[in-house]
């Protein structure tokens, strides 16, 4: 079987208020990935441009980017699955390469969220849910995830402190990731101090510190066939497993509120395709858009039994030195969450880890890594398993 590799990764710094246009933002991640892959732009046969729609005035950004990045006349297209867009983009690039249609494909994710207010942004994100039947009630992402948090707390006894510990862990690594938006430490005490902004309520039971923040950013992955990867790259990272699933957009169509069904389904597919089990994963990136999301991810991915996710963070097993390091680049909570760029950033971290290029964030000699990337409130789920 012909393998498919990631031979280059890049991302912009994730920031508030990027001082440039979206094509310039896209160039930041693209330049780093192309230089990392040590290829020339002309080696790239096609591009897949990924983001969540409606943040930009520009319609169909793919054509604009292809021109700005020097990728014309090669084919390009736009792909979206909200926050998991780049993981879905990688899945598409894998298919394009595996089918033999193309040898080298660039997957570029971006989002410039700073041009609209936080309330407007919440309104757009809320409209990533069911606009006919749910958005008219005044929904927003934190409130949806808060419903999952509430259900998990009720069923398993997960506490507010358990969730805060996820943020404390994330903030342990924010300071050592030069691309991260939040680079200051966070303590558990901040969550219990009523005067500290971290403890402020957003949507019960979630507090400010439980939520990731909007950001501007871009990320890029250069995907190549086995033959090209071996010819062009000294350290290709192989795509071993891909899983993807979808769920009812309306919460009324869901059965599970103490986990995300899409993550369970996607991980099962990815483990099967890669021929590995949760125990084989040496390092992981999970979609911690909220603190509860990381606890759900531990359980949905099989790192912990249902209800026992919190034990992993309490025992520090998911810290850099633990058995299964998770989000040791600071996660979405520290990096910020430029929706369409997030999956690519997660994949970049795992690629750097597997190559031994993660610098201060490097975990000890990982062989297999996993990326869990969720779109909407468990509407789309992508799990990607990578290996050396």
């Amino acid at each position: 079987m012909e393998k498919v590799a990631i031979i280059g990764v890049g991302q912009s710094a994730f920031v508030r208020g990027y001082p440039g246009s979206i094509r310039e933002l896209a160039f930041e991640g693209f330049k780093e990935a192309v230089e990392d892959a040590k290829v020339s732009v002309g080696d790239i046969d096609a591009s897949v441009i990924c983001s969540a729609p409606e943040y930009d005035k520009q319609r169909s950004p793919s054509g604009v980017f292809a021109e700005y990045l020097g990728l014309i006349p090669q084919p390009t297209c736009y792909l979206e699955s909200l926050c998991s867009s780049t993981s879905m983009g990688l899945r598409m690039a894998y298919s394009l390469v595996k089918s033999g249609l193309h040898d080298v494909v660039a997957v570029l994710g971006f989002q410039k969220m700073s041009e609209i207010s936080s309330a407007e942004s919440q309104e757009r994100m809320g409209r990533g849910a069911d606009i006919q039947w749910e958005s008219p009630f005044g929904t927003m992402m934190p409130a949806y995830y808060a419903m999952f948090a509430k259900a998990h707390m009720e069923k398993y006894g997960t506490t507010l402190d358990d969730m805060a510990l996820i943020r404390v862990k994330a903030a342990t690594y924010g300071p050592i990731n030069e691309k991260a938006l939040f680079r200051k430490p966070v303590t558990l005490e901040m969550f219990t101090d009523p005067d500290h902004f971290m403890s402020g309520p957003v949507a019960s039971p979630l507090r400010v510190g439980d939520c990731c923040a909007n950001a501007d950013g871009s990320s890029c992955l250069i995907v190549a066939s086995e033959e090209k990867a071996k010819a062009l790259s000294k350290k290709p990272v192989w795509i071993l497993g891909l899983g993807a699933a979808s769920a009812s957009v309306n919460m009324a169509g869901r059965d599970l509120f103490t986990g995300l069904a899409v993550a369970r389904q996607a991980s099962e597919q990815a483990y099967k395709m890669a021929g590995v089990t949760p125990k084989d994963i040496d390092v992981a990136e999970v979609h911690d858009c909220f603190t509860i999301s990381e606890i759900l991810a531990y359980e949905d991915l099989g790192f912990a039994k249902p209800g026992e996710g919190r034990e992993l963070v309490k025992s520090k097993e998911t810290y850099k030195e633990g058995n299964i390091p998770v989000n040791v680049d600071g996660g979405l909570l520290s990096k910020g969450h430029p929706i369409g760029a997030t999956g690519g950033s997660q994949i970049r971290t795992i690629v750097l880890q597997l190559r031994g290029d993660a610098g201060e964030m490097q975990v000890k000699d990982p062989g297999i890594g996993l990326v869990h990337n969720i779109g909407g409130v468990g509407l789309y789920g992508n799990v990607t398993i990578l290996g050396r």
Partner: protein, 144 residues
């Protein structure tokens, strides 16, 4: 008769801010006006839908009939919002919630007059039509 075709945009009355105006299940709004919350049932395969659908994905039939949501369900989960999206600020604070009726679930809001300490997951609730201050219609969950 006017040549201009009238647009049936009744659905724009749903919720504080509606993002949909035209749907095949516009009658849902007329039922709300009469104090009824309705779902649909496929007359060919019997599948029950809430929110109501005009089309059955199970057997691809378009032969659906209305049924009234009645009785009580159980609170699956909820969240009380401190911040709201644009257009909903005037409703704060409010709680979004999900209630399980067994054959179907309903997403909506908790009635505003339930004290926080009386809200418990699993509690029995009923769904009632609610007229919003801006004249719009939705439904809320009340304690049984």
């Amino acid at each position: 008769m006017s040549k201009k075709k009238e647009i049936d945009d009744r659905f724009k009355k749903f919720g504080t801010v509606s993002f949909t105006s035209v749907t095949k299940v516009n009658d849902f709004i007329d039922f709300l006006e009469k104090g009824k919350v309705m779902g649909t049932r496929c007359q060919d395969c019997g599948k029950v839908f809430f929110p109501p659908r005009a089309d059955c994905y199970h057997c691809l039939s378009r032969n659906v009939e209305w049924f009234e949501v009645s009785g009580k369900g159980k609170l699956v989960s909820y969240s009380k919002l401190k911040y709201a999206p644009v257009g909903f600020e005037g409703d704060l604070p409010y709680s979004i919630a999900l209630v399980d009726y067994g054959d179907y679930k309903i997403f909506g809001r908790l009635a505003g007059d339930i004290p926080d300490d009386e809200v418990k997951l699993g509690m029995e609730m009923k769904t009632v039509v609610n007229k919003l201050p801006n004249g719009q219609l939705n439904y809320v969950f009340e304690k049984v």
